[in-house]
Symmetry: C2
Subunit: 312 residues, 2 copies
C-alpha cells in the first residue's frame, strides 16, 4: 500500500449543510483522496472532515478545501461556542502506515506556503510544524481568535503569521497548519458509580500530573449506565501504547476492588497501535508486522521485502 | 485487497535442493502467486512451501507444483522418517482475509479433479474437504503410506482414492487434498524449570482432554533457557482466540506461583487473529476491522464500504 497521510481539517461552519458538502466535494475531487469520516456540530458551528491521501494529493486536497472554505465562509458573520481563527481553522497532517512525522512537517510547510501564495490567506504553524516554540500549542496560537488577532497581527510582532500577512484575510482569517502523530481517543469504563475513583485514576495516569507520557485523561460519570469512565487521548501510542494504559487503569481500579467493564475506541486507530497492543499483552517475542500474513502479502505485492526474510 | 487463498503443499523431498527449487519456481511461475515461506527438512526428507494467491491462480499453481513434483520425485526411491503417500503429499487450501472455508473446500475439489484429469494422479480429500467422514483426519487417509496403499487401493473399496485410480500413480503415488482453517502455531514460555507444570497445563487446556476447543497442546522443556514451554496449535482461532489461551495459561500457572516469561508465534498469523487478540484483551466494545484506519483505507479503495458508515 502507498503511504497515506491523514488530514483532519476543522472548518468554521457546522450548520449550513450545503457549505460543508461543498467543502467535502472539493476534497473528494482530488484523485486518490479518501474521505474517512466527517462530523458537523451546530453548537460549535464547526465541522471536521477526516481524509487520507498520498502525499501530493493530500496537499492539493487541503488547498482546495482552504479555497472553498474561504469562498463560502465569512468569519465576520460567524458565531459559535468554539474558538476559531480561520474559515479553514486548523489543518493538521498525520502520518499513517510507513509515513513519517518528518514527512508531515514538510507537507504542512508546503501546504502553508501554497495557502498564502495561491489563496492570499496567511498561515500560522503549530505542534510539530511550529517554527516558534511558543506556537507549539494550538490554544496559544489561537488566543484572541479572529477578532483579536486581526488587529494584533498588524502591530504585535509576536502575533504575526508565520507565512504571509501581517494582515489576516478579511473574511477567511488565517489557517493554523500543523503536523502531529495519530491521536487515539480511548475510554475505559469502570464497574462502579464512584466518580471520585475515575477522577483519581485519571489524575494518577495523565502526563500533566506526572503519570504516563503522552496521555491526557479525565474522569467522567456515565450516569445512564451506572458506570464511570476514564476518558483519554493517547497523543503518542508508540510511547505509551494501549495495553500499558489498560493495565495501569486495571491495576489502579483493582486496588479499590473495581473491575473494568469494557473499553471503547472513539473513531479510528492505526494498525500499528493494534499490533503493539496484541503483541504487548501476549508478551510476544520477536513480533514484527510482517508476521501477519496479510501484511506480508501486501509487502510482497509492494516488493518491499524479499520472500524468505522472516526468521521462522 | 483481493481475497487471497493460502496453500501449504508438503512435498516428499527435503534433501535435493534442485528439485525443491524447481517446484518453488513452478509455483512462482503463475502470475499473482506469492511465496510466503518455505522449509526443507533433510531427516524427514520433506519440504513445505507456503504460498498465497487469488483463487484461480492458487489452483493453477497447485497443479504446476503437482506436475513438477511428479516429474522429479520418485517415491519408489524415497525414504525418510515422515509418513507420506505422494510426491506432492498433502495439499491444504486455507482462507485468508475475507475468503471463506467454503470457497477453499470448492477449490480443493476443483484442484483434485484437475490433478487426476490432467496429471493422472489419484486424489484423496481430507479435513473439511473430505467426502467420507473416515477421511477427515489426515493420519487416517495416509495410514499404510505409499507402499501399503498402492496395493490396498486396488482391492479394498475403503482405501480407494476419491478421484481417479484405483491404482496409484506408479512413482508419484496420490495427492491428499484438503481445506482447513488457518492454523496458528503458538508457544508460551513459563518462568520455571518444572516440566510437570507445563505438561499439566497442556493437559488441562487441550481439546483432547476436555479443555478449550480447537486447541492442541504439549508441555516441553526449554533446557538451554531454564524455562518450560506450553507448545500449541490453534486450529480455529475464531473459536478459541489467542487471548483466551494466554489468559488460561496465565491463570493456571499463577495458581502454582509461576509467571509467563514470554510467548512466541511460529510462522505467521492472520490479521483477524491479531485484531481479535487486541480487542479481546482490551474488552473493546463494538470493535470491527474497519475501525483500523489502514483497513478502512483498503476497504474504501476496494469500494467495499461507503465513506460514512462507521458509528463514531
Amino acid at each position: 500500500m502507498t503511504s497515506y497521510i491523514e488530514c483532519v481539517p476543522n472548518f468554521s461552519e457546522g450548520r449550513n449543510a450545503e457549505t460543508i458538502d461543498a467543502i467535502e466535494a472539493a476534497i473528494a475531487s482530488v484523485k486518490g483522496t479518501l474521505i474517512l469520516h466527517s462530523t458537523r456540530d451546530a453548537d460549535h458551528n464547526r465541522s471536521v472532515i477526516t481524509f487520507a491521501a498520498p502525499r501530493d494529493a493530500v496537499i492539493e486536497a487541503a488547498l482546495r478545501a482552504a479555497a472553498k472554505a474561504a469562498e463560502l465562509i465569512d468569519l465576520t458573520a460567524h458565531a459559535g461556542v468554539h474558538p476559531r481563527l480561520g474559515a479553514l481553522d486548523v489543518l493538521p497532517f498525520v502520518p499513517l502506515g510507513d509515513a513519517t512525522l518528518a514527512a508531515c512537517i514538510d507537507i504542512a510547510h508546503q501546504a502553508g506556503e501554497r495557502i498564502w501564495n495561491e489563496l492570499g490567506i496567511p498561515v500560522y504553524f503549530y505542534e510539530e510544524a511550529a517554527l516558534r516554540t511558543d506556537r507549539a500549542k494550538l490554544e496559544n496560537v489561537r488566543r484572541g481568535q479572529f477578532e483579536g488577532l486581526r488587529d494584533a497581527a498588524l502591530v504585535d510582532e509576536g502575533k504575526r503569521p508565520d507565512v504571509g500577512g501581517p494582515a489576516l484575510h478579511s473574511t477567511a482569517g488565517a489557517v493554523i497548519v500543523g503536523a502531529r502523530r495519530f491521536l487515539i481517543a480511548y475510554n475505559i469504563n469502570l464497574r462502579t458509580t464512584d466518580l471520585s475513583l475515575a477522577k483519581s485514576i485519571a489524575r494518577r495516569i495523565r502526563t500533566s500530573s506526572g503519570g504516563l507520557p503522552a496521555l491526557k485523561a479525565l474522569g467522567l460519570p456515565l450516569a445512564s449506565r451506572n458506570l464511570v469512565q476514564v476518558s483519554m487521548n493517547l497523543t503518542d501510542f508508540e510511547e505509551t501504547p494501549l495495553h500499558v494504559v489498560y493495565e495501569e487503569v486495571r491495576r489502579l481500579a483493582a486496588q479499590q476492588g473495581v473491575e473494568i467493564e469494557e473499553s471503547e475506541l472513539i473513531g479510528l486507530m492505526p494498525r500499528k497501535a493494534l499490533e503493539m497492543t496484541a503483541a504487548g499483552f501476549l508478551k510476544l517475542k520477536d513480533f514484527h508486522t510482517e508476521r501477519v500474513v496479510e501484511n506480508r502479502i501486501a509487502m510482497l505485492l509492494d516488493e518491499r521485502i524479499p520472500p524468505h526474510r522472516y526468521p521462522n
